[in-house]
């Protein structure tokens, strides 16, 4: 069965390489975003859609 399943692809283990790369990148992402030092930065970034129309001159925002 395994032979039939893999008969059209000689190197199925190659699939593991990108998967491992993704897994490592995923772990790196988790570590990065969970750093305590980033908490305030991400809180600020989450506000972007609420502040994107704020006028930097503290004037009334454009209509």
């Amino acid at each position: 069965m395994k032979q039939i399943a893999l008969s059209y692809f000689e190197h199925p283990y190659l699939i593991l390489i990108p998967f491992i790369i993704f897994f490592l990148f995923f772990i790196y992402l988790l570590i990065t975003v969970m750093r305590k030092s980033n908490v305030n930065v991400y809180r600020e970034l989450a506000d972007i859609p609420l502040k994107d129309e704020e006028d930097d001159n503290n004037e009334q925002p454009g209509k």
């Binding site: 692809f9 930065v41 809180r43 972007i48 454009g62």
Partner: protein
Amino acid sequence: MKEVTAAATVKTETVVYDEEIVKKFIYATLFWAAAAFLVGLLAALQLAFWPANMNLEWLTFGRIRPLHTNAAIFAFAGNAIFTGIYHSTQRLLKTRMFSDRLSNIHFWGWQLIILAAAISLPLGYSQSKEYAELEWPIDIAITVIWVVFAVNFFGTIAIRRVKHLYVAIWFYIATIITVAVLHVINSIEIPVSWMHSYPVYAGVQDALVQWWYGHNAVAFFLTTPFLGLMYYYVPKAANRPIYSYKLSIVHFWSLVFIYIWAGPHHLLNSSLPDWAQTLGMVFSLMLWAPSWGGMINGLLTLRGAWHKVRTDPIIKFLATAVTFYGMSTFEGPLLSIKSVNSLAHYTDWIIAHVHGGTLGWNGFLTFGMIYYLVPKIWRTEMHSKKLMNTHFWIGLLGILLYYISMWASGITQGLMWRAVDSSGQLVYPDFVETVMKIVPLYYVRFVGGALYLTGFILMIYNIWLTWKKAPADQTPATLNVKSERHESAGKGHRKLEGLGAVFTVLVFIAILVGSVIEIIPTLSIHKYLPKDEMVRPYSPLELAGRDIYVREGCYVCHSQMIRKLPFDVLRFGPPSTIAESMYDRPFQWGSKRTGPDLARVGGKYPDMWHYRHMINPRDITPNSIMPSYSWLNNKKIDYIGLRKKLSVMKYLGVPYDHETVANGDMQAEEQADGIYEELKSQDPSLGNIKNTEILAIIAYLQSLGKR
């Protein structure tokens, strides 16, 4: 906290946003939505009540269905995406679009492409590859206009006045890059004439490339851009920050990396090699996590503002849209499990799944966004909140009727197909029995669609009245902004979020990995086929008949893929093999069985059966819902074009000899005469059908499973 505001030289500039382009895309979204919904309603009616095909070749279900899907995806959803992208990008990057001229070329070019599709598809110019039916000149136009859009978008990123790229922009980047890759690779074809071409891929290769494209068209045209819009408009409308920016980062990269692998789940239990099927299934299951991460992030953005779901119709639309996103992305992986797929595939369950996504997720998110944008852009208030609420409830009722009826239809038909009695025989051997059982549900679906359209008409009426009361002064919005472009901003991923070019390259690599690993091995698959398993190429007349089969869109109702499932084998014969479709350009495996599979229909019935069946299906099968194809009786076979078609096929590797290519027209005429003489001998009262297309399609159907 990392410093994000320190800058050596900061100057203040006034940005004047281009709102005209946003207005244009809103008009286009509303116009094409009406067209897509109307055509969809007609198609739904045709399945419930076959005379709605009107015996007109331009309006048969086979031609209307691709028109509906293209209109819904590229015209309605496409223009909606552009509306949101042009509006939000300018604000998130605090700059006007890179070029007004490119914005306008993009707008008008896209509308012309849609117009070309709306004309060419009913005329039968189709490649028969789902969501990629448009012929090669239109494919080139799509590429050019997409590049224009990309230049304008990335140009805007280059001139932005903020360092950081907000998460919505990441999703737009992924959309632009991936759609370009998908479209170009899936559309590699050799022209035969001005409006006809053959793909360079054949059979299983074509199937894999097509469903890699088809699945990711859903992923990167109907999901990632709408997620970008969700990340912008849900916080805006709710006046709440997004729930978790951290989650959005993990959500984005996981989704972009994993989605691209899932295409083979459209080909489960088929003759696609098992390793590719398993890969598609496993990655589809993995998609559950990032998809729900996005949904949770969207819904929890409403924390502290849940009361608005009750009072604010915009929030109603947006929250329901995100909920439908969650339901669809739960159902998708479920349907990708091989055993579930064996029940659901080819049935209306898939239609239910698709429409939960498009009507609920894409449709409602678009409606919510437009209701948010219209008062802001036209500087007024919506005419009637009550009408907005009515639209919401009628639309939701419409979706539920649609969804539930198609679930019931799909599961009913799936169970009837597989029902076997104690002696091992099919309980419902007559395919039409399983169709008759679900026709009442097709009427329910039609009512659901009609309700959704009614809600939309209320929206048009409401917006029309809103426009009428808009102030005459429509000065564009402006904003004073400080340039912060030369700041340093964080390390690691934080830094990456400010590097547009590097970010784009990483997205490109992320989507390329899965694509290369799945597609490259399959491209050489035919080399591994044993010589004795190979089939003969189609005869010239069979090839002509095949092109007619493609033109009429027969694939939208008939599959040509007998799965490796006992009940499929009992009903239709031995499982289809890779070799049997190795010369099929384009492949015709299909994705829906409104009618029976045709992979082994050759030789099953006499030519006269096929003749009478094509002219009036009810003469043969009293309860059939198939349209009549009486015009095939009058149209003449294009013998002249055959030599060119055969030479292109030979160029693509089909082993035609020189004699066949040089005299293909004469060989075809000879074969057609043989079929004609036989039909005439059985029924002397037949009119003069010599050299008509019906002879070619009979030759093609009789060759299926017999070569």
